[in-house]
């Protein structure tokens, strides 16, 4: 059924939407486009849909709304748009109008399985955008509620939830199952030795190179996660199990992380390194480095140097495949 949407908040953006020249240069910067490869998943595609709805050319339907709610807010598009169109601000306002009109969506937003959630509140304190709230539903019952307008889909809460109650929709290569599959593909099918988890927010544009299917062979594979804080310890261990000689996690420098996920990554990886030591595995098999936006050359050098270091170390004996 078609719902009437007033677009109270989005209306003001019509002239900005007109400014989008639709050059499409934002494609190459969008992790969602890289995942799905449909033009409707690009920032340009979303602006077109919003423009259509605001100008009355397009009636909002569930399928259109689903597209608008697929965005990780890395802001690579807004930061690099030469026409200066504030893409993500427009998307946020459109989301608010659509939610207010009664649309229900998941998109890239996290979902909480109430049966598994113990309402411990770890996720609530983690979220910098205050997108998670403890609410009272009955006299003695509480639950965690997700603010669908504020959630950025960074996945930090997901990797921190002790009960595994938080999930995200499959398809964007960010769920644990999907990441496990990618790890296996890179290490087994592509025969790489080093696995790099790179933060989408600071690093992705510079790493297009390694994401491209058509690229020259490298001894390393790169997985672009959202925030580095979403690299759950089991993903690193999984990589070792699949035969990785080493794992590098590349995140934003302290103070620069939009989600404060880098601090969590650091703590987590130090603990993991200690654990490796106890298992008689060189803790240098895990490496954490910080990179700012635009430091793709530094990143490339670091990866290459680490690959050389790993060559000297050889495979991990404990995990060596028979």
């Amino acid at each position: 059924m078609v719902k009437k949407v007033k677009f109270k908040r989005t209306k003001k953006w019509e002239s900005e939407l007109n400014k989008c020249i639709r050059c499409g240069y934002c494609y190459e910067l969008c992790p969602l486009f890289k995942s799905y490869n449909w033009e409707s998943d690009t920032p340009r595609g979303k602006l077109l849909l919003i423009h259509g709805m605001v100008t009355g050319k397009l009636e909002p339907t569930q399928e259109i709304v689903d597209k608008i709610f697929q965005c990780f807010y890395c802001k690579n598009c807004s930061d690099n748009c030469s026409a200066g169109v504030p893409v993500t601000d427009i998307i946020t306002d459109a989301r608010a109008d659509l939610i207010n009109a009664g649309f229900d969506v998941q998109g890239t937003i996290v979902e909480i399985d109430e049966d598994l959630c113990s309402v411990c509140g770890v996720c609530v304190s983690l979220c910098k955008y205050e997108a998670l709230k403890i609410v009272k539903i009955k006299k003695d019952k509480q639950k965690i509620e997700v603010d669908k307008i504020e959630c950025r889909g960074c996945g930090l809460c997901l990797s921190a939830c002790p009960s595994g109650a938080i999930t995200q929709k499959e398809g964007c290569n960010v769920t644990l199952t999907e990441l496990h599959t990618t790890i296996r593909e890179i290490l087994t099918n592509e025969d790489k030795r080093l696995l790099v988890f790179a933060c989408n927010y600071s690093i992705f544009p510079g790493m297009q190179l390694s994401q491209s299917e058509t690229i020259v062979k490298t001894p390393y594979g790169v997985i672009v996660t959202m925030c580095s804080g979403r690299v759950a310890p089991e993903l690193v261990l999984d990589a070792f199990e699949e035969g990785a000689w080493g794992v590098m996690v590349a995140g934003c420098p302290p103070e620069e992380c939009d989600h404060d996920g880098n601090y969590k990554t650091r703590r987590r990886l130090i603990l993991l390194q200690r654990m490796l030591k106890e298992l008689n595995i060189n803790p240098k098999r895990i490496k954490l480095e910080w990179f700012s936006t635009g430091e793709s050359a530094k990143l490339k050098n670091s990866i290459e140097m680490y690959a050389k270091e790993l060559d000297k170390m050889g495979p991990i004996k404990a995990y060596a495949k028979s």
């Binding site: 002239s15 449909w38 030469s82 026409a83 200066g84």
Partner: protein
């Protein structure tokens, strides 16, 4: 199209690669032009056989098929004005082989220009045509539009790089055109016929392209001018003087203000600037070329000329030029930049006169037009900047187009130098090229008798571009 047509396509490609979802249809209804028209279905083939199956089916059912690369075209080539199937080629993006010993590369049509260059650069090679949209533009799209770019003044356009290609014809038959050799004299040069055909004659499914070694040195110069005319004369003098620039770009005052606003480049806000570059393997030869060009700039009142071999500095200056197209929207509040009258070509000796004429016509018709472009190769880029909400402004734009192209054609210029005719440039082009329209129609009829491949474009496009499709803006009274 019927529901069972879509079911059949889903059987051919798998349901995940076929969409008739409203969100997808709306997004694929436009490109970077002002036009918009809804297709019935989007399909994403992954190999040649799938393209053949789609074409066979569409031909039997007489359903229009519009091939599409990145959708970055500026004249509406990929806008499906008769509906039908949009053939999104972006999944066919494999570089099949790089053969340095033969200096060629074989690619699928969905390979992005910059990705190709990223793969070539570790081998010390590059693919030169590089339009400004190279970061997303696909090789297939570049072939369809005969794209060219900043280095075309020395290295030529896409057509100069096509050695051979595999094409799926309207009836689904696969043909092998051209050769793996640099020259061939073996029958019709059909691979050249496909270049610039805008998807109306066949679907390119593989291309064999020439590549070049990356020159060891590049030196970029920037010269400032108070008068646009002086800058224009400099361009023609540089070419006529026998210099060999690897880039020769002009940007007028409007363009400078826009890129400064959008990118904070801190360029001097003068009447015009020229960017000139020389490249090669012998440093002294480049010094000679670049100084020769510098002297010509000075002779034409160019000043504060800077020269730089430093790649970072070159990137900083040049980055502004690459993003100028979109930056123009930032020039003035309430005014937006439209892709109209955007790439005429004139003989080099007419650059200065044409640039002046553009500003004159724009002013007379109440719109703003920036003048920039790869003027060394005779390309003048302009954009009509207007208030899209006012219906009168679209009439103004129509008048500008009429007057401007009458002038361009009168001095021996062409309607489109590198973006193609599509829909928005068809009316002036048809007016000027009445003689070749019957020839083109005969070729089209011979190769696509059912008129299913990107119908109603170029010679068959509507005569009124404003009414040809929906305009993508909300136009008031």
């Amino acid at each position: 199209m019927r529901k069972d047509d879509i079911e059949k396509l889903k059987k051919i490609l798998g349901p995940e690669n076929v969409s008739d979802n409203l969100a997808d249809l709306y997004v694929y209804s436009g490109d970077a032009s002002v036009h918009q028209a809804m297709p019935n279905v989007i399909v994403r083939p992954n190999n040649i056989e799938e393209v053949q199956k789609i074409m066979r089916y569409a031909n039997k059912r007489k359903i229009p098929v519009v091939p599409r690369g990145a959708g970055s075209g500026t004249s509406g080539h990929s806008v499906p004005i008769d509906g039908g199937i949009v053939l999104d080629m972006k999944r066919m993006n494999r570089i099949i082989e790089i053969v340095p010993e033969d200096m060629l590369v074989r690619v699928e049509p969905g390979v992005v220009d910059d990705d190709l260059n990223r793969a070539l650069s570790p081998l010390g090679l590059f693919y030169p045509p590089a339009p400004a949209s190279s970061r997303i533009a696909t090789i297939g799209g570049e072939i369809a539009a005969n794209a060219s770019g900043v280095r075309s003044v020395k290295y030529g356009a896409t057509r100069d790089y096509v050695m051979g290609m595999k094409v799926v014809m309207a009836n689904g038959r696969l043909v092998n055109l051209g050769a793996n050799t640099r020259v061939h004299s073996s029958g019709y040069q059909l691979e050249r016929l496909i270049v610039g055909s805008e998807g109306t004659l066949g679907v390119v499914v593989e291309a064999t392209m020439r590549i070049f070694p990356i020159p060891k040195y590049r030196c970029l110069g920037v010269a400032n001018f108070d008068k646009l005319e002086d800058a224009g004369n400099t361009i023609s003098d540089i070419i006529a003087g026998g210099c060999q620039p690897s880039m020769l770009e002009l940007m007028d005052g409007i363009g400078i203000v826009a890129v400064n606003k959008a990118l904070d480049l801190g360029l001097k806000e003068v009447g015009a600037i020229i960017l000139f570059e020389a490249d090669g393997n012998v440093r002294s030869a480049i010094d000679y070329e670049i100084n020769k060009m510098k002297k010509i700039c000075e002779k034409n009142n160019g000043y504060d000329i800077e020269l730089s071999y430093d790649p970072k500095e070159r990137q900083r200056i040049f980055g502004g030029r690459k993003k100028l197209f979109a930056s123009l929207s930032k020039y003035k509040d309430g005014i937006i930049c439209t892709d109209l009258a955007d790439d005429m070509g004139v003989p080099n000796s007419k650059i200065a006169e044409c640039a002046k004429k553009i500003h004159e016509i724009a002013e007379r018709n109440n719109v703003i037009m920036a003048v920039y472009g790869h003027c060394g190769s005779g390309v003048i880029h302009t954009k009509i900047m207007l208030d899209p909400k006012k219906a009168k402004q679209w009439k103004d734009a129509d008048k500008v187009i009429d007057e401007l192209y009458d002038y361009v054609h009168s001095v021996g210029g062409v309607t489109s130098a590198e973006h193609g005719i599509g829909l928005s440039k068809a009316p002036p082009w048809k007016k000027a090229r009445k003689d070749i329209i019957p020839v083109m129609r005969a070729i089209k009829k011979a190769l696509d008798p059912n008129n299913i491949l990107n119908p109603h474009k170029i010679m068959d496009a509507p005569d009124d571009w404003v009414k040809a499709t929906d305009l993508r803006y909300r136009v008031g009274r």
